[in-house]
Point group: C2
């Protein structure tokens, strides 16, 4: 490792997860463990806050408070949905960032986030290189959607999958309480890729006779085929669990029942309504005995049902990102590489940010069954190790440990 040339800046971006703070924790602990005399700073509210000089010095935080980061949901240092424009469109922003880096003697920057955040990290890295400013930038992956390419999986996904699959088992038990027909639609997150919905394929490994249909954005949604699927399924068993990604699209690539007028500040269409649309289809064509549950933000913050594997990997990704950035790498993302499923082991590796950003990793089509309404064993083998292990997040009052998020800002 080269000698430490300056201070480290970390920041968080995009949607929170249960474990994004575990990566920040890993990075902070790793850097401070070196005793280089240099500082760790955190940008408050991601790149947007950095542009507003909202920088805090980790040394000013209580040490016990830092320890709580490892098991704390949400983005402790604050997040944003803010994309840097290309530098030839708005060089002023880049200059602002350079000035802040200079002011705080920042020579290392870790940006923790998803696809759009990797794009920002990539642009910054290219700009720094172009103008010859000596700072190394590494992207740290985070997304419950699991849709970053060049990595086996993304920190955050395992915990979301663990929560959703467990809720799935519980709901299957619940809809079997009564004798009467009961269809439950569970809408889960997944804007572009169906990983979370696909993860519930693991239910059949514990409930071999489960009556379940899974619909993913990877497959164009066909209303007529859907109704045939449902009719066939409830003939077999009058209890049925339907899992659907919020991001399913029709043959023209239009979101199913998306509200086309609302977009978020990244310019993405605001989803919601895929599950409701399916419920209406069933009500109008098959039966009234169909309920809907939209799991919403609980998927990205349910620390009470987090995957221990996910938390530990998130911390390692944070720690290794510090090692990589100090070793002089820049313009990379710290990815996860799985050795095998049988004896699961994951290590980190570097992949180029330019190969990651603006691309989406979908559920492989050959992991989806022929009827396009469930997943094959390959998906189950993939997900099983990622949801392993539990933490004990509870205090003696029966509630999950809570740290005031303002302590970090």
């Amino acid at each position: 490792m080269k000698s430490v040339k300056g201070n480290l800046l970390i920041a968080q971006s995009g949607g929170p997860t249960s474990v994004i703070n575990a990566s920040a924790y890993g990075a902070i602990k790793e850097f401070l463990s070196l005793g280089s005399g240099h500082k760790v700073y955190a940008g408050v509210y991601g790149i947007q806050g950095i542009l507003e000089k909202r920088i805090i010095d980790i040394d000013t935080l209580n040490k016990n408070t830092i320890e709580t980061l490892k098991y704390m949901p949400s983005s402790a240092f604050g997040s944003c949905r803010y994309k840097l424009k290309d530098y030839d469109e708005n060089e002023e922003e880049y200059e602002k960032i350079i000035n802040i880096f200079k002011k705080f003697n920042i020579t290392y920057f870790l940006y923790i986030g998803g696809n759009d955040s990797m794009d920002t990290a990539n642009k910054l890295s290219i700009y720094m290189n172009k103008i010859g400013y000596d700072a190394n930038i590494i992207g740290v992956p985070k997304t419950i959607d699991n849709d970053l390419v060049e990595t086996d999986h993304c920190p955050g996904f395992g915990s979301a999958a663990k929560y959703v699959t467990n809720i799935g088992i519980e709901i299957w038990s619940d809809i079997n309480a009564y004798k009467k027909e009961s269809i439950m639609i569970m809408e889960v997150m997944g804007r572009d890729a169906g990983w979370i919905a696909a993860s519930t394929g693991i239910l059949k490994s514990v409930i071999p006779d489960i009556n379940q249909l899974i619909y993913l954005p990877e497959i164009s949604f066909d209303k007529d085929k859907f109704l045939i699927d449902v009719e066939k399924a409830i003939k077999k068993n009058n209890k049925l669990l339907i899992v659907v990604s919020e991001g399913i699209k029709d043959e023209n690539g239009e979101y199913i029942n998306a509200n086309k007028n609302e977009i978020d500040s990244f310019g993405h269409k605001q989803l919601g309504g895929a599950g409701r649309h399916l419920q209406n289809l069933i009500k109008e064509n098959i039966t009234k005995n169909v309920k809907l549950i939209e799991l919403g933000v609980t998927q990205r913050c349910a620390i009470h049902c987090a995957s221990k594997t996910d938390i530990e990997e998130s911390e390692i990704v944070g720690r290794d990102s510090v090692k990589y950035v100090l070793a002089g790498y820049s313009g990379y993302m710290t990815a996860l590489e799985r050795s095998s499923n049988d004896k699961y082991n994951c290590v980190t590796k570097l992949v180029k940010l330019q190969d990651v950003c603006k691309r989406v990793k979908n559920v492989p089509l050959n992991w989806i069954n022929e009827q396009k309404n469930s997943v094959k064993d390959a998906m189950i083998d993939y997900i099983q190790p990622l949801i392993l292990g539990e933490i004990n997040p509870f205090n003696e009052n029966g509630l999950v440990k809570y740290t005031d998020i303002n302590f970090f800002r």
Copy 2:
């Protein structure tokens, strides 16, 4: 205790909970531990299944399977929403039941359920008494809504409250991720009483500066006051958590945004839409930055976040119900009596079924704050002991233990 004169029948009714099977478990284990040579039967799908002679002999179940009952959500023996009519309206049904009792030599009957189920148990008990049939009937309370009178609280409520309060903490963390204004509405169950929503008052004991509003069915919903509450709250802090019972009503007692055409088979109006209504009010009058989460059935089946206290009490209520029914009591419900909050202890006592059925226990008005949008410390003191303790419901595969519900039917 008198000598055991015949067999025990147990059955489950109404909405499932995470712990209704723990009561069945307690009853079965207690009766069999006596070694009387008499049998335990279970009615499949409650009184409706009993009328169809769907009776299973617990001896035919695998012993390990019985052990899984203690930590199994949903109604293992099947539930129903079926109310017995008065016997002068439909004596035939009562005669059917008597014939089944005779056929299986049933002299003890425990009916596990909520308000409507206590009514059924009461009617049966009165009828048996009238015709001089020697069977003792006891109601075993169960409802996440916590709205049975004459008992300190109801088995099932503690686990629902534990899940909802923990999700509340996690969602509060989540909505604080971004800098921008963020209002989250969390709709929880509670048709007639607001106990589940009120339980989230405990959030302020761990998040002293939480910005939270709570709306209960106990207080007529006033749209104008609601909008003033919200405007005032977001001036103080642009993050706001609003918790609302599905059963809030207007000044005329009409459900807010209820779909008046849909009723369930108990004749209750099908709710849903209170949270959506509040969201629309805020969108139309204050801000677009408002999201909704409807926790739905997860509240009654999330065994992964069950209260250990609740599970243990549910088992005790089942065990003590056997003791009471064998001692010759009939026409009673086994209630819970709390000694004190400081050193929480709960024991069972008997209360008359006729004093329980057709009544609703509401959140006391003097536990609600003056502004009618939150709860006082008395509510927090009440809820705290009920959510204490955790179980480990997970298998080594990272998923909650699952028993095929068909094993019990």
